[in-house]
Symmetry: C3
């Protein structure tokens, strides 16, 4: 009986650290936090500097930095600073910025790889979430890893399910990001 408090703290810690809420039958794992965001990427094409939120900064030998390289953009590397909104309207008040890079990595189809952060700066959300992973663009939904977080998202881990919400030529696309955290420390 004397060690009952230890059991409680062990269980408390588990919930604190892992945020796991397995169902009583089966092992279905539910997120400890879920959120949906949109981010909006406007690529510099030589004529739209003021509006552009991203630019090509690396390209293969056959490419350049104002037009995608051909062969499904293979090798084009882009740095971005995109507004994040809570709905799919580019002109909604942003809750933060999606900042990072992506590059196209397949010659025979559209596919990318992403490394970026959500940097929140609104009254409701402070801190960052960090992401990395493969983005096979033409697949309807694709999962990347939430590899860490700071502030409100201190030490978070999870999965972000990405879908392309709009795509307009080479210049504009909008991604819907369904963030599911499975490790919540806050």
């Amino acid at each position: 009986m004397g060690d009952a408090p230890k059991h409680i703290s062990a269980i408390f810690l588990l919930v604190l650290v892992s945020g796991l809420v397995p169902s009583s039958h089966g092992h279905k794992i539910r997120p400890c936090k879920e959120m949906v965001f949109y981010f909006h990427d406007i690529l510099y094409n030589g004529k739209n500097f003021d509006n552009a939120t991203s630019a090509i900064v690396g390209a293969p030998a056959w490419g350049n930095r104002t037009h995608m390289a051909g062969f499904n953009n293979f090798g084009d590397m882009v740095v971005f600073d995109d507004p994040i909104t809570l709905d799919n309207n580019l002109h909604s008040p942003p809750v933060g910025r999606a900042q990072g890079f992506y590059f196209y990595d397949m010659k025979n189809t559209f596919s990318a790889w992403l490394g970026f952060s959500f940097v929140f700066n609104c009254t409701e959300l402070k801190g960052t979430l960090n992401f990395a992973g493969a983005d096979p663009i033409l697949v309807k939904t694709r999962d990347v890893s939430v590899i860490g977080g700071t502030g409100d998202f201190f030490m978070a881990r999870g999965i972000a399910t990405i879908s392309t919400d709009a795509f307009e030529g080479d210049v504009y696309f909008r991604l819907r990001v369904h963030v599911k955290l499975y490790e919540c420390w806050k």
Copy 2:
């Protein structure tokens, strides 16, 4: 006695989340999952577009994008989409693609930094593993971090021990990747 189920679920959760199997004496930690893969990188050199699986997309001021830059390739940044096989034969049926980037980061020796995903697409394996870390190429084995995963590798973490299985000039190399996961959620 009434809280016995809690103890069980605490222990169950620990094994579920951490996949830890410490030996009874000492604290040796064994992986919850181990796998070995090979991946094959054929660098674009200006003449081999059809076969190439990677290309230089960034280079320092003294470099270009069809030849390595000199000074141990310092600053050359490469995007790749390499076949993954279960043995060391480039022509074995691939189980997926290794997609990502690496760059050379030392002037006085060969050393690189890796950010990439294994994107599995065979019947036995679905999902991705995400990796990041330093790769001091001339060291026989070097460890990078498994920073997350999706699908069959949902929320995985671990270590990947990399060794250079073959190296042919500037155009072809093959890496052996020993993946050891220590956090298994599936």
Copy 3:
């Protein structure tokens, strides 16, 4: 009583895996390991090859690889191999190298994104720590994620609080890095 050992091992595992030391009242979480390092970045500017520890390898259309691009360096991507010291003296004996890349990602202020490793190679420290995250340079302290580690830092996770300790024009800066690990497996 028969399952007492289970309780102990559950608690033991928790401490082993999470390194959590919550205070008895409240839920303040303290690191399982803390360290402070400095690293020193000397950017190649066309004239300082011998001393330079970093170089621009990607730039937007309006930039080049020997001068920052304007518009707060937006799009400039830099590869680095910087000495790590225990104090703020560039000439102190290094305990390892900070190797990775950063890029500037805002047009209207100075802001960067970092992906790098600390590669330790002194007698006291062996192994690596891997980092990723947003670095809003003008903020006094900013947090990035420790996304993994190897060797002495096997499977580590945590937060690194970065502050700019010195900044001299476009060529030299020094970062102070306060590493706080919250998951310690060693």
